[in-house]
């Protein structure tokens, strides 16, 4: 069985920080520490006049893939709370297959 992965469909990530804060609460980490950190690119004008403006939540080495929550039959705290429904959790192959259907997406395998 492969490792579990997080898939971020970041075409739809609004940069709202909900995943970040839900994760901070799950891991009980204090100021300046994150299990997942929302990165920002843009707004930046592209040479063709369109605009680039993306957010991408990146799991850090503190992410434990919510192992305890999953064991209790819950879901990952970040995925649960994402108001844009753009985060997914599951086996890496499944997440990779899902990502292949998307335009802007990233698959993370934070814990081997």
């Amino acid at each position: 069985m492969s490792a579990n992965a997080l898939m971020i469909d970041y075409e739809f990530c609004t940069g709202c920080h909900a995943c970040e804060v839900a994760c901070k609460k799950h891991l009980e980490v204090g100021e300046g520490q994150y299990g997942i950190h929302v990165l920002q690119d843009g707004p930046r004008e592209l040479p063709d006049g369109r605009w680039e403006y993306n957010f991408l939540p990146m799991p850090t080495s503190l992410c434990d893939m919510c192992a305890g929550r999953i064991a209790e039959g819950k879901d990952a705290a970040c995925v649960h709370h994402c108001p844009a429904h753009c985060m997914h959790y599951g086996p890496a192959e499944e997440m990779a297959a899902l990502a292949a259907e998307k335009t802007k997406s990233a698959v993370f395998v934070p814990v081997a």
Binding site: E11, F12, T14, G15, C16, H17, A18, E20, V21, A22, K24, K25, E31, G32, G42, P43, R44, E45, W51, E52, Y53, F55, E72, G73, K74, D75, A77, H80, H81, C82, P83, A84, H85, C86
Partner: protein, 790 residues
């Protein structure tokens, strides 16, 4: 898809999870926002709130939450919470207090109220609250039914410019309110098989950033849900919001020109014959007059006004008109302009002539669940008609006589405090509102006025700049998780269950009941918050049929039935006829109600009172158009500013934005403290380069104060130092009394230096009587456009 754990507890309202008790309920500000999301509260062995999760079965938010509800325990358990009523012992502004009991506090209030009743009249008391709070029916009831005054309003919100201009436009044109259809009226959300709902083909995001603001009971995540289902966007915003970056068209308009843009889009849709002929002929009144009015609003003319390329205006208008269904989700900038009502009428005309009225995926006619209409007018009927008629703002007939307003006119209350005309206001009751930090424009003027009052009470969750500056008494109130309450804003009906207690802090309801029983016991036939909720559910919520126990312990939320195209099936009008609740029975593009009260019945637009074209001499001195009040994920207005919280970690300081070009020209760098200044006053914020802005536009934050700094004057938690409302006037309203230019002023920007920062605004206002103090001798008004000198 929800996981096993939540599924197992699907039918439970409370259950144990190890040492935690979990409670399924809803939450409503404060802390919070305009929305009442479904939550699972986790309380520990000591009954303390430890954690909050979204309720995956609540259709409103579907388990998701914003960061602010996720961090809620930080605010509920914050060391800065006030846990006992406080009586002022020093001077106002010294922040010196003595702890007293609620009963002692009530004794003082009762004595003062009876003094005002004796020496003046009940209407010399005014009550105010902050937007969106779950105090929206409680505080009005206190004002009317305990104090006997008709003068309830929002905390010095100039021109009632938060939804009220839009609602007056909608009520007069349609006899109802309309909102963007994201399936929020159905318990089975996004279900195109079992409901009639359809995904909008096009969503116009007009002047708001719902993923951040969640305003007016509209959860921003719904827009993203619709995007995931294929909706295309058009975004109208001076800045490239994230939604704008995902839009087919981003119309970067000059702040304050929304009405002109709407007229231009109407022009294109009418002249290119893109309107819905059948709907217009059958269900509207005054189309020919509207067409005539829009004739001159060509895309070329509008392009010059709005600073948007003409071809984009045409293309966006076509895209909107050719989509079916299409919906418009609009926001506050429409209200926050002197031309608020005419602008709202123009946008309302857009969804009307395209036939998107009350259809699946269009703009739907929405009513409050189970006809529970207790809001700003709750308890008004307990006042004698002659007292009702004394409500301040009678000079504005649309508010006072046509019945569109449910509050006193805030600017006129301010003037009454200053001048005693039409009669003196001597006491102020401020509950969950922080005007000098937040929505009170010309905050220094408010500061001066409120200082002159005989008696001021502040009821809030934390000590605030407003409380320190003015309060003679401070009563702490409970947060949402510490109250048993119920509320409706559109749909559904929601129950809020108390799960914890802070000290002996009381709920808004209990404070009001305790006082009401002393002053007008006949109006308070209930002994506590639960009995009051029961009373409302029984008497004011006829179609619900349950009591409070049923609501919080069984239903938690409840959706009423919803029907589309109410005008076709006799549900549009109270008389059961087909059509709309208007004098003509149609949507009134030509607004006969406005006509009746002597106002222009058609949409129109004019330059803001301070603008590059209306006041070129001011623009020379203040060469940027200033827009204010854009929302952040971290804050709800002036809330969530407490230190050592996640909100302040992620957003430590106030930021304003300008383009890279504009900053370079002035030699300013990202991250620098700068002064923003105009003829009204100045404040300082930190520059953040926003490459998407027009070089002539500056965008500043509102609501700032710094609870980690000194509360006593002159600092006042630093609120005046960064208050953008030092630059915004009061009493600059539309002819109807509605609308105020919060989002369209002028300003200049310069770097903060040691030299020019010697006298900070807090000192200048509280110690030197500074800003906007020039009184026009002829009428007692503070002069608009007086010069700032320092």
């Amino acid at each position: 898809m929800t996981s096993k754990y939540y599924e197992e507890h699907k039918d439970d309202v409370t259950w144990q999870d190890g040492d935690y008790t979990v409670t399924r309920t809803t939450t409503w500000s404060g802390p919070g926002c305009h929305d009442g999301c479904g939550v699972l509260y986790y309380t520990d062995k000591d009954g303390k709130l430890a954690k909050v999760e979204g309720d995956p079965y609540n259709p409103f938010n579907g388990g998701t939450l914003c960061m602010r509800c996720l961090e809620m325990p930080e605010f509920v358990n914050h060391p800065q919470r006030v846990t006992s009523p406080l009586k002022r012992v020093g001077e106002r502004g010294e922040n010196k207090w003595e702890e007293i009991s609620y009963d002692e506090a009530y004794d003082i209030v009762e004595e003062k109220v009876r003094e005002i009743w004796r020496d003046y009249a009940p209407e010399s008391i005014s009550c105010m609250m902050g937007t969106g709070r779950n105090a929206c029916w409680q505080v009005p009831y206190l004002c009317y039914s305990a104090f006997g005054s008709p003068n309830f309003c929002l905390g010095f919100l100039s021109g009632e410019s938060c939804f009220q201009p839009r609602s007056a436009a909608m009520a007069s044109m349609n006899g109802d309110f309309l909102i963007a259809d994201m399936s929020q009226q159905f318990e089975q959300r996004y279900d195109e098989e079992n409901t009639e709902w359809r995904t909008p083909e096009v969503i116009v995001i007009w002047g708001n950033n719902p993923v951040r603001s969640n305003s007016d009971n509209f959860y921003g995540g719904w827009v993203v849900d619709c995007m995931q289902r294929g909706s295309k966007l058009i975004t109208i915003d001076p800045s490239l919001t994230w939604l704008a970056s995902r839009s087919e068209y981003w119309l970067r308009l000059r702040p304050g020109t929304d009405g002109a843009l709407a007229l231009g889009m109407l022009h294109v849709i009418i002249e290119e014959d893109l309107y819905d002929h059948e709907f217009v002929e059958k269900w509207t009144y005054g189309f020919d007059e509207l067409r005539e009015r829009c004739k001159d609003w060509t895309p070329e003319k509008v392009s010059e006004i709005c600073w948007i390329p003409a071809e984009d205006i045409v293309a966006a208008a076509r895209m909107y008109a050719q989509a079916k269904p299409a919906t418009i989700q609009w926001g506050l900038p429409i209200d926050q302009a002197v031309w608020g009502i005419p602008s709202a009428m123009a946008i309302n005309a857009l969804w009307t002539i395209t036939g998107n009225v009350d259809i699946p995926g269009g703009n739907i006619i929405i009513r409050n669940a189970f006809d529970q209409n207790v809001s700003y007018n709750y308890g008004f009927n307990n006042l004698a008609p002659e007292v009702q008629a004394k409500r301040i703002g009678a000079e504005y007939p649309l508010m006072a006589k046509a019945g569109f307003s449910s509050t006193a006119h805030s600017d006129s209350i301010l003037k009454a405090i200053e001048t005693g005309d039409p009669y003196p206001i001597r006491m102020l009751w401020l509950q969950s509102t922080n005007p000098i930090a937040n929505m009170g424009s010309d905050a220094p003027r408010i500061y001066r006025a409120v200082k002159s009052l005989d008696f001021v009470v502040v009821v809030d969750m934390y000590m605030t700049p407003t409380a320190v500056a003015f309060a003679d008494l401070f009563l702490p109130c409970a947060m949402s998780c510490e109250r048993d309450s119920q509320r409706v804003w559109w749909v559904p009906l929601r129950g809020m269950k108390k799960v914890t207690q802070c000290g002996n802090v009381k709920s808004d309801e209990d404070i009001i009941i305790d006082l009401g029983k002393r002053l007008h016991p006949e109006n308070f036939p209930f002994d506590n918050e639960i009995e009051w909720a029961d009373n409302i559910l029984k008497n004011e919520t006829p179609a619900y049929g349950g009591d409070f126990d049923q609501l919080v312990n069984k239903d938690v939320w409840k959706y009423p039935e919803f029907h589309y195209r109410k005008y076709e099936i006799g549900e549009g009008r109270y008389d059961g006829q087909v059509g709309f609740n208007t004098p003509t029975g149609r949507v009134e593009l030509y607004n006969t109600t406005m006509m009746l009260w002597g106002y222009d019945p058609l949409p129109d637009w004019e330059e803001p009172t301070s603008s590059p074209y209306r006041t070129p001499e001011l623009f020379e001195k203040y060469p940027f158009v200033l827009t204010t009040g854009a929302r952040s994920f971290e804050f709800f207005h002036s809330e969530n500013r407490q230190p050592n919280t996640t909100s302040r970690e992620l957003h430590p300081m106030p930021k304003f934005e300008m383009s890279k070009n504009a900053a370079e020209k002035l030699g300013l760098e990202d991250g620098e403290w700068c002064w923003l200044e105009n003829q009204h006053g100045r404040c300082r914020q930190i520059l953040r380069i926003n490459p998407s802005l027009d070089d002539r536009v500056v965008r500043a934050e509102h609501g700032w104060w710094f609870p980690e700094t000194e509360g006593a004057e002159p600092n006042l938690f630093g609120t005046f130092d960064s208050n953008i409302n030092n630059l915004i006037p009061q009493c600059d309203n539309g002819v109807t009394g509605y609308g105020a230019p919060y989002k369209n002023q002028l300003c200049k920007v310069y770097k903060c230096t040691e030299e020019n920062s010697k006298v900070m605004p807090g000192y200048h206002v509280t110690r030197e009587d500074g800003y906007s103090k020039d009184i026009d001798e002829s009428n007692g008004d503070v002069k608009v456009g007086m010069s700032y000198e320092r």
